[in-house]
Symmetry: C2
Subunit: 189 residues, 2 copies
């Protein structure tokens, strides 16, 4: 099994911070569904989880998914179908973790992105080496929406991945762009 085939990505809509550092559930953005699914398929990932506790939001994502998998969209644009086949909605991060465990028999190592200098922080190169060293070990990359993942999620994670640097001090990529760059750094040729 390649490292990518044992790797999944989860877009977390709760618990995340809002602008005032309050813990909230953010709304799902349509292009997050498509863009990250397409990136996940391009780099050969096993799954893309969209995590939100809001049932109506999960239904909305399922509606998008069904449209492109079974509806008119599946014949209009089969490339979208291939991407959205990776998509799974879950109400909690724990449920996404359980789904990996059920599929692979192993609890995934959780990776978050954040400032370096934390005790369990790793570079992209170090994370690649960890994955190559144990191809049977699933990994899951957690992406925050809003103003970022809460401290609680950071504490529950196994690794903190170094932030993407563009060389300057501006580092405010969209979550869609950040996901694409991270997957390219980990799995791109």
């Amino acid at each position: 099994m390649t490292a990518a085939a044992n790797f999944s990505i989860a877009l977390i809509h709760y618990p995340v911070y809002d602008k005032n550092h309050d813990i909230v559930a953010t709304a799902v953005t349509n292009l997050d569904v498509h863009d990250i699914a397409r990136s996940a398929r391009t780099y050969g990932l096993s799954r893309y989880y969209i995590v939100t506790p809001v049932e109506e939001q999960r239904r909305l994502v399922e509606k998008i998914r069904t449209h492109w998998l079974e509806g008119w969209g599946s014949t209009y644009n089969p490339k979208r179908k291939l991407a959205l086949e990776l998509l799974k909605t879950e109400d909690t991060l724990q449920a996404a973790v359980a789904e990996v465990e059920e599929r692979t028999g192993k609890r995934p190592k959780l990776v978050v992105t954040g400032a370096s200098g934390r005790p369990n922080s790793v570079t992209f190169g170090e994370l690649k080496a960890l994955m190559d060293a144990d191809p049977d070990q699933p990994f899951m990359l957690l992406l925050g929406t809003g103003w970022g993942l809460t401290e609680q999620v950071f504490k529950a994670s196994d690794y903190v991945l170094e932030p993407i640097s563009g060389g300057g001090d501006y580092n405010h990529l969209s979550v869609r762009s950040a996901a694409a760059i991270m997957l390219d750094r980990l799995f791109g040729r």
Copy 2:
């Protein structure tokens, strides 16, 4: 001057192909404006051009830009302001090229992305070497919308950059994700 500071990116809405290989003008997507501006700012680019011959569409982009630069958005989220300062709308690719020439005194070398094997195709490494060899030479990366840039744009370009490969045969990234990955490969640390 760094290579990035002499590098610009242009999102082309005309001339591009539609699904049936007809040449059309596509509509501007709101998140293309924001995501690519944020990526351009992260990697230190000089400009981000949105090219469309449709006056109403240029007005729409200007409205978004003004909202975040001068309106309520400028105080709500100053990071967006920094990104959208790079944005300029133009009616044609020629006008964007002329703007670079006016600013820098040199016509930019035009780079498109496409399948390898064309006579003027370069890898990411080769393009980096070309830029480093002549820091005074501006470069402009052209991104197509719809079903891609027309043959006419390819013929008018100086270099064809190798496509992004994720290792498999699926290669259908969104233009936002592709732009982010290309800038990271060229300028990321």
